[in-house]
């Protein structure tokens, strides 16, 4: 029995009188791809914000590898191995692809002022390692040839892949992808498909994704959670969810 990587219980987020997330439960095991789906405005991104520390949840517990992370700050949670992407790609547009990859490794580098000024051996070694890792991941997502190009000059699909590569270079254990397929054409979506599966199988991380693209979701998910208006509606394997009458009602309305 694999231990739970992420265990979320009773996650609730209130903004004044508005309840955006109401008692959401999630479980993600190691090497799993889990999807969250639901009609628009269902509070899915808010869930992500709560998990990743951008919001402090009003109630609930979030356990990452048996450690409570609810209430921690965003960058602290990121350092614990949970990284996320955003609905709109957030790259450092004016910096090059390779620089984006290096910034992500900031805390693995020697940030000591004097070491940098005097270019100590340790400093240089860590810079080299970071460079190697960056190149490795750029190769994985097929972007190595664009290493010196400004991130803002890439095609949207390439930017998405760069964002994922940038997350991966931080050595996470859980990757949260917020609508990664939005704005991608079918070809790019297929590439994204394969990339996510590769991440699970070859790099042994788990992926939690929010998506609207049903073919993507049904095709690669090990488990699916359905959320409507911030409240959990159903969960199960793709087949179970596909045939769940409540889910069908939520998406298509009453007969």
């Amino acid at each position: 029995m694999s231990q739970l990587l992420l265990d979320v219980n009773g996650l609730t987020m209130r903004f004044g009188g508005l309840v955006a997330v109401n008692g959401v439960n999630l479980k993600v095991k190691n090497r799993q791809i889990v999807s969250i789906i639901g009609p628009n405005g269902a509070g899915k991104t808010t869930v992500f914000n709560c998990l990743s520390g951008f919001y402090i949840p009003t109630e609930g517990s979030v356990m990452l590898k048996n450690e409570q992370i609810a209430g921690l700050k965003d960058f602290q949670i990121s350092r614990k191995g949970l990284v996320r992407t955003f609905q709109h790609v957030r790259l450092f547009q004016k910096m090059t692809v390779i620089e984006n990859m290096l910034v992500a490794q900031h805390r693995h580098l020697n940030t000591n002022l004097l070491s940098g000024l005097f270019k100590t051996p340790n400093y240089r070694r860590l810079e080299r390692d970071a460079m190697d890792k960056a190149m490795h991941w750029l190769k994985e997502v097929d972007l190595l040839e664009f290493a010196n190009r400004e991130a803002g000059n890439l095609a949207y699909g390439q930017q998405r892949r760069l964002e994922i590569a940038r997350c991966m270079v931080t050595q996470p254990e859980l990757l949260l992808l917020d609508e990664p397929a939005a704005g991608l054409n079918p070809n790019e979506t297929k590439q994204l498909d394969e990339l996510i599966i590769k991440l699970r199988d070859e790099h042994e991380i788990s992926v939690l994704l929010i998506e609207h693209d049903m073919s993507l979701v049904m095709g690669i998910s090990d488990h699916i959670y359905v959320i409507a208006q911030g409240t959990p509606l159903a969960d199960g394997t793709p087949d179970e969810v596909k045939n769940n009458p409540d889910v069908i009602k939520a998406y298509l309305g009453e007969e």
Binding site: S52, D74, S78, V83, F86, V103, H106, G116, L117
Partner: protein
């Protein structure tokens, strides 16, 4: 169409008249204990009507004027420099030539020019320091003058009460200024842009008020005078040695006393400090911290999601910028021999900010150019000295409207991945 323009022009002229009629047209005069008003002189009224006329005409012919400006090419100062590849090989030679000129030049010109150059170098240092905070890290600091003051008073006090030499105090001044930067930055750096600006302004004022009122230590409004000048390995640059047994520069080298030696010596120290600061900043931009500053400026939320501690990163920029101001402050105190809170008013912060903004935020070359222009221009236009601040304010408004990216827009050194 033209009638519309005509009404616009009349309206604009009317506005100008309203603005000017009382504020310029009437002068307040205190006659004894009563307040009296005096009409402005005929000459002044000519100026007012001239101004109204200009506004009227410029509104009437606004479209023609716009197209005229549109046809004028925008000065691309960056294009004056040769292209990248050639620059890379030329650069070391250019730098060497520049440094040589800077070292030799003072021996060939008047004392006044060298003195002016030293003042310019101080502003260059301050501009580069604030550039780290505003240009590289994107934090708007309106109270930079506070760190300048800390550096100056640190040297002044250490020199007066403990007789410490300039060279010993230099790192201490920088360190103390950095400490203040840390203490100030720690609570306020998480504030939003314009709030941060006001809070730093407030801190700048608090420091000045404290310096002005803590008379026991800082001498209050009278400041501290008689600050020792820097020495060259113990050789003083004065006519007679201060203490028994100490030697002066001209005695040691068997020369007759000339005050130029002191001025040139100070100039050379300034050059040294500026070179150090420039080197430091160049290194920083190529280090992880420099990349982090840029990333933070670009997208703070992305940084947070990648595990970067934005407060620590902002704090580093703030602290390093502050320490640079500390350097400048110590040197300033040494050069002047006398400091008072009057030298550290808000306007100084505004001037340094203007240097950074006008030079092109982030661009070192731009900041240096802007500092030179800001310091030398008022000297060249002596007759206009009373209009100096007025034009300064006007310049800031105009630059923001027409060239907000500054004289030399920032060109970041990009990290290149060398293909194997």
């Amino acid at each position: 169409m033209t009638t519309n323009k005509f009404y616009n022009a009349i309206f604009a002229a009317g506005i100008t008249f309203i603005l000017a009629c009382l504020m310029i047209g009437v002068k307040l005069d205190t006659e004894g204990t009563t307040l009296a008003v005096k009409g402005a002189t005929t000459e002044q009224w000519m100026w007012i009507f001239g101004g109204i006329g200009v506004v009227f005409l410029s509104q009437l012919f606004s479209s023609q004027i716009d197209s005229l400006f549109g046809k004028m090419p925008k000065p691309k100062l960056g294009a004056l420099l040769p292209e990248e590849k050639k620059m890379a090989t030329l650069k070391p030679w250019l730098l060497a030539a520049l440094i040589t000129v800077m070292l030799i030049w003072p021996f060939m010109v008047s004392r006044g020019s060298v003195d002016l150059a030293t003042l310019t170098l101080i502003y260059i240092m301050l501009g580069l320091g604030l550039n780290i905070v505003v240009g590289l890290a994107g934090l708007l600091d309106l109270g930079f003058v506070a760190f300048y003051a800390v550096g100056a008073y640190t040297y002044a006090l250490l020199s007066e009460y403990f007789g410490m030499s300039f060279w010993a105090c230099l790192p201490i001044s920088a360190g103390l200024a950095a400490l203040f930067g840390f203490l100030l930055g720690f609570p306020v750096l998480r504030l939003r842009g314009d709030y941060l600006a006001i809070v730093t302004l407030g801190f700048g004022e608090i420091i000045r008020i404290l310096l002005n009122n803590w008379t026991a230590v800082t001498g209050g409004p009278n400041g501290i005078s008689g600050i020792a000048k820097p020495t060259l390995f113990g050789l003083e640059f004065t006519r007679r040695a201060k203490e028994e047994g100490a030697e002066t520069f001209h005695q040691y080298f068997d020369l007759s006393y000339s005050s130029s030696y002191k001025v040139i010596f100070l100039y050379l120290i300034a050059v040294l400090l500026v070179i150090f600061v420039v080197y430091l900043i160049n290194r920083l931009m190529r280090m992880p911290i420099g990349r982090a500053w840029e990333a933070l400026r670009e997208d703070e939320i992305a940084c947070r999601s990648l595990g970067l501690n934005r407060t620590a990163i902002k704090l580093s920029a703030f602290t390093i910028g502050a320490s640079t101001a500390g350097f400048a402050g110590a040197f300033f105190a040494a050069r002047q021999g006398f400091i008072s809170p009057e030298s550290f008013i808000f306007i100084e912060s505004a001037i340094i900010l203007a240097i950074v903004v006008l030079g092109g935020m982030g661009s070192q070359v731009g900041v240096i150019l802007a500092a030179i222009v800001m310091t030398i221009l008022p000297e060249l236009a002596r007759e206009f000295s009373e209009y100096r601040m007025l034009l300064f304010g006007l310049l800031m408004v105009l630059m923001m409207r027409w060239r907000p990216e500054g004289l030399v827009p920032m060109k970041r050194p990009h990290l290149e991945l060398k293909q194997q």
